[in-house]
Symmetry: C2
Subunit: 202 residues, 2 copies
């Protein structure tokens, strides 16, 4: 049997708490929700840049790294959209457990789906950020030409046009990208995190 019988098979695991203490900051999900073109990805990336400059480990999950990666098997049926958000929630939970701040930038139009993600995490680990912007302004921006295609019927079930967007009832943070500059949005979010002592280990 060699030395194997002498091995102690108790796992010595590093805990979330220890990782937070080592990182000298809290870990959480900043869950951005809002219409297409509202500015979720832009604001999320600007916040991530600020956190990086402040030496806080953070990572952005968005369409680019999720839809072409772990969720590339999913389409846009109601079932697949639910599964899309569920998996993003589960990946986020792993990142929070690893001690990082994870920022998610997905329309995530349904309250039920967002609330299910909230339930996966502890109370102080899920920060819902509503990126408020009128449909008119989003459609005028239309950075990817998606609204035009939705109006023409080329894209079906498009949020805001042919599928509902459910505003958060009690989001932790609301930023309005028609009223505020990106820099102001970032300040609002970072100040929230500082107020809640996310910048120091719990």
């Amino acid at each position: 049997m060699g030395k194997s019988t002498n091995i102690t098979w108790h796992d010595q695991t590093v805990t979330k708490q220890q990782r937070r203490e080592n990182n000298k900051h809290h870990s959480c999900v900043l869950w951005f929700t809002g219409l297409s073109g509202s500015g979720k990805s832009t604001v999320a990336n600007a916040v991530a840049k600020r956190l990086f400059d402040d030496r806080i480990n953070s990572y952005v999950l968005d369409g680019d790294n999720i839809r072409f990666g772990i969720n590339k098997d999913l389409g846009f049926s109601e079932e697949d959209r639910k599964e899309n958000i569920r998996r993003i929630g589960e990946v986020s939970k792993l990142f929070v457990d690893s001690g990082q701040v994870v920022l998610t930038a997905f329309i995530s139009p349904f309250r039920e789906d967002r609330d299910k993600v909230r339930e996966l995490l502890n109370e102080d680990e899920f920060i819902e950020i509503y990126i408020k912007c009128s449909l008119e302004a989003c459609e005028a921006r239309d950075p990817k030409g998606l609204y035009e295609k939705a109006r023409q019927g080329i894209i079906k079930d498009f949020t805001g046009i042919s599928s509902p967007y459910e505003e958060p009832n009690n989001p932790e943070i609301v930023v309005d990208t028609e009223e505020n500059s990106i820099e102001e949005c970032v300040e609002l979010i970072v100040n929230y995190l500082k107020d809640k002592n996310f910048y120091i280990a719990e």
Copy 2:
């Protein structure tokens, strides 16, 4: 239209390279593969503890946080087992992109599935670690009583008993848990990482 028309909608993203420089270490997957009871999880957690002590950001993916989380919709059919490993690979890629060292502890018995994960990553980002241990020794250890159930036919398609295990052809590292203590296995793996300059930013 308010201020929104003046917003610069270019995303300013933080890159993997910048995160590695900030962290002062490389990021990669340490992919542990081997029979049930070979010691994958024990060695992976011991390496993670050592990396933590050395101030390297790392995280272990294992059955506990994957099978009950993102992959809780998957069973043990051939198709589901492939999808299980595919998703673990994609989650690992996100962690590597975030600048962390991720350690995965799954039997992952099939070469094809492991090689598909390898293809997701850059050449120096996938370190396959074969946890070598004879079937006899694993079965004698049987820490979860799984081999007994497999022999009784209670568990079907059990790797090593009723389903094949394909040894890696060219793993980056081999550790033998019958010959070496956990501490020796950890030293072997950490020395490999140091030799390859993983302990400093590229």
